[in-house]
């Protein structure tokens, strides 16, 4: 298993506002797989993603990524882990407003010793003509593509996506998903996609359902639909 989550528990708050978001989650993802983590609002799916990404501390349990135990690592070690292994894509892109497209991607390029080629990546993502624009001058789709370029330039082994198409209309959403599919095929990047959209699961290898902080169902997709055929995005 590339990603091994064992009995992970996570809670927030104290006293009256105490809530246990993850109640003991055990799940595994193979290298090179695309995986959807689906669930209703409040099911804990974003939290699970954050924990795997080292963005939040795990209360108890174990989480191994490529053999490295995440649980219990200090902030600086987690920072290194994120730098070396992960790429992130957020629902609201989270680009730096005062940097151009190129500069936003460069922020990540300096974090690795073997980056992908900048111009090739811009080309692949259809951003070449927008390279010197600021995020405020781009449409939602273009911004998300910039964010994807930023995540990819590090050539990460694991890509974590939190509602990547949540703020986009269905056509743009489809484009993004096609892109992710292409990357997965070309680079073999393992992907974890958190979403509440019901259609995306049809294109991925593994599907995990979270309900009230626990895995309610998981299966492997035997009949994957290519991204371009997805509807109701």
């Amino acid at each position: 298993m590339y990603v091994e989550v064992s009995n992970v528990k996570k809670s927030y708050g104290e006293g009256g506002s105490y809530v246990q978001v993850l109640k003991g989650v055990t799940v595994g993802v193979e290298q090179g797989e695309m995986c959807v983590i689906q669930g209703a609002s409040g099911s804990g799916k974003s939290t699970l993603l954050n924990c795997i990404g080292g963005l939040d501390d795990i209360d108890s349990g174990s989480c191994k990524v490529d053999g490295l135990e995440i649980a219990g690592l200090k902030q600086d070690a987690l920072s290194d882990y994120r730098r070396d292994t992960l790429g992130f894509i957020f629902q609201f892109y989270n680009l730096v407003p005062n940097l151009t497209v190129r500069e936003n991607i460069e922020v990540c390029r300096y974090l690795t010793s073997e980056p992908l080629d900048m111009d090739e990546l811009l080309e692949t993502l259809g951003l070449s003509e927008h390279a010197d624009k600021f995020p405020s001058q781009l449409s939602g789709g273009q911004q998300q593509r910039t964010a994807i370029a930023r995540a990819l330039i590090k050539n990460p082994k694991l890509l974590l996506c939190d509602e990547p198409t949540g703020a986009l209309d269905s056509n743009t959403s489809r484009d993004i998903l096609i892109l992710l599919e292409k990357i997965n095929e070309k680079y073999g990047t393992t992907m974890l996609i958190v979403t509440h959209n019901n259609s995306i699961k049809d294109m991925v290898h593994r599907v995990i359902y979270l309900k009230d902080g626990e895995i309610s169902r998981e299966y492997t997709n035997s009949n994957r639909i290519p991204a371009r055929e997805l509807e109701d995005l």
Binding site: A40, S41, G140, G141, L168, D169, S170, N171, T172, H196
Partner: protein
Amino acid sequence: MKDNKVVVEFKDVVKEYGEGEGRQIAVNHVDFAINEGEFVVILGQSGAGKSTVLNMLGGMDTPSSGTIIVDGKEVSAMNDKKLSEYRADTIGFVFQFYNLIPSLTAYENVALTKSIVKDALDPMEMLDRVGLKGHAKKFPSQMSGGEQQRVSIARALAKNPKIILGDEPTGALDSETGVTVLKLLTEMSNKYGNTVILVTHNADIAKCADKVIRMKNGKIREVKIDEKPLSVEEVDW
């Protein structure tokens, strides 16, 4: 059948941005009319121009050319001061991200309309209408997304506006909560006779509308009038 007098008129409205190479036409010669009491959905993809239309309707932006008449007033020709008054008296706005004032309670957020219009409706009554009477003393940070949106609707209603505008009002909500909010909005039109105009890319919402204006690339593709729109419960979300 909502066949009352025309309350909104767009006549050959154009909106352009930027200049030279960066010139974009967001709204490209758009004409339509909306009657009083109608529940209207302006449908389109991202970049279709629907938000721009809504912004001009709401007096937050002025057209590059063309005329916009709302409730007999020529909005497109108003200056900053008159637009302020227009927004105060005629429009109630519901945002995608609620935009409540975080440092005011639910009641206070609705009550601030009293500083804006002379005869604002009673805030408690409005909170009751949206089913949040018990939440009056809570701050936005203490409420869920759906509750915040409902407070925002109460705030819009308290002004007793002629027209209620909504920009992706259910966009940030999960389907269950979205349904509750939508029910409220359709109630405004069906039960209380307000004119409600929503902008969205969610085609399901359009199924509840009296009139659907489809936009693509800044132009109107189609205006569909539905005599018998579905009720919110009847739609399969």
